[in-house]
Amino acid sequence: MRRFYFVARGVAWRSVHNTIANPAILLPSLIFPLFFLAAFAGGLSRIADVPNFHYAPGYTAFQFAFVFLQSAAFGGVFTGFSIARDFDSGFARRLLVSAPQRSGIIAGYALGALGRWLITAVVITVAALIAGMDVLGGGIELVGLVGLGITMNLVAALWACGVAMFLRTEQAGALIQMPVFVVLFLAPVYVPLSLLTGWIHAVARYNPATVALEAARGLIAGSPVKLALAFVLLLAGAAIMSLFARRGLASAERAG
């Protein structure tokens, strides 16, 4: 257990340190969510005038929930890019050789993803509040919101970790990113589920990301909905992805 902890701590520290020390990595992870918030909340705010669009905190908060979870997911995705780069550069091999408890490497990358995302989460939350976002939920609800973000980040990081370890090349980037992107956007991003029609409604209805998104919006509105279900789904996702990541690690170990 000690060795697991030390390995995880070392990998996580490196991940966070490299992000903070390298503006080329830090800035995009901050700027993109801010940009999406501005573009969606600003450019599409008229959507809130559509009949039957009801969301008490307003459209900015409506979009903030999506951007919050999206930034959490993509925080995990970017960690996958880092892992892939480590394999391309040979650093991952060094880690595999020197880590006494290799599963700590996965934990370390996941913790690093979380650390990086927390920075982003603070920045976009402050930006949204400055932009006038209304938050009707209290402290407990906001803790719940952060909890959703953390578990979303964990699911995505473990997914990204698994893909990166299976493929072990920077060219895995698209494969890491696209499924996460598609899953997120096949949720009620712009309007509530009740206002979606056609095939997108059918898909969004069964999309686990929809549950997480609705839960997040409920927390901001001070009326939690489907919160337990959201956590169950996300934690189940994390369990499945941790197995996937473990299999990826085994594949990397076999490749040498």
């Binding site: 501005a38 450019g43 008229r46 598609v182 309007v191 206002l195 997108i200």
Partner: protein, 280 residues
């Protein structure tokens, strides 16, 4: 092949009779480079497939997700899918820009550019050839977007003629953006720098009338930005052919901005090429 300019006899004792070489014509030079550019793109499937698939995925998702936008008072009396079809053409043009730029940057980084510099190849021919290759790819992309759009039920209000004009406009836009990609490559010389600009270009598409008509954008600052953003007029030019028919003003602005983009980027890229292709 024209024999203008230099003629050199290349001798080689022990080989067959020497071959008289003349400077190849501009057309031949452009053709050789364009051919290489097209071969490279079609052999790297990811470069072809991703720019086709990603904008269409977004089109499918946004086209359905934003159906409710039709209910906004003042929204054009068309399906949101019809409204949204213009966007993939612009997104595709961005991918063309990045691919053209990254290809050229890779040549500079690898030294292949120097190899080309040692031949009689003119800088203008190299630039035109790279952009020519990009145009071929843009043609394929535009045909696919239009085909998928029509197959998904989008009606082209301006008819068959309008579809041809739409293709011409989208190819011109792609040409202009490819010039931008080439400019970035020649100016910075690395693929990383070119790709670093991609998010910025992507942002310009979002901060436009890509999602809603400009007059329906509620946030004042966003509407102002979209109004001054040339990408809005490129999108609106294409969109007018799909949802309106023949809108002279929209087409004039669309073609006007596309031509201006092409002229500016080509001019700057030409200067950058002269600075990069240093030979005595």
């Amino acid at each position: 092949m024209s024999s203008s300019g230099l003629t050199a006899r290349a001798a080689g004792a022990g080989g067959p009779a020497s071959i008289a070489l003349a400077t190849p014509s501009l057309v031949e030079q452009v053709g050789a480079i364009a051919r290489r550019s097209v071969i490279r793109t079609f052999r790297q499937r990811a470069l072809l497939v991703f720019p086709l698939v990603f904008p269409l995925i977004l089109f499918a998702i946004n086209g359905s997700s934003l159906t409710a936008a039709r209910k906004i008072p003042g929204f054009p009396d068309v399906s949101y899918r019809d409204f949204a079809l213009a966007v993939p053409f612009i997104q595709g043009a961005l991918f063309v820009a990045i691919t053209a730029g990254t290809d050229l940057a890779r040549d500079i980084e690898s030294g292949f550019f120097d190899r080309l510099a040692l031949t009689p190849l003119r800088g203008s021919a190299l630039l035109a050839g790279q952009l020519g290759g990009a145009v071929v790819v843009a043609c394929v992309q535009s045909l696919v977007y239009l085909g998928v759009g029509i197959a998904s039920g989008v009606g082209i209000a301006s008819g068959f003629g309008g579809a041809l004009v739409l293709l011409a406009l989208s190819i011109l836009i792609a040409f202009g953006f490819a010039g931008l990609g080439a400019l970035l490559a020649l100016r910075f010389g690395t693929g990383e720098a070119v790709q670093g600009f991609f998010p910025l270009l992507f942002v310009t598409v979002f901060l436009s009338s890509s999602s809603l008509p400009r007059n329906l954008i509620k946030a004042d600052w966003f509407r102002e930005v979209a109004t001054y953003n040339p990408v809005s007029y490129l999108i609106e030019g294409i969109r007018s052919l799909i949802i309106t028919g023949w809108d002279g003003q929209a087409l004039a602005l669309g073609f006007g901005f596309a031509l201006a983009l092409s002229a500016i980027t080509l001019s700057l890229a030409g200067t950058a090429m002269k600075n990069r292709l240093v030979r005595t």
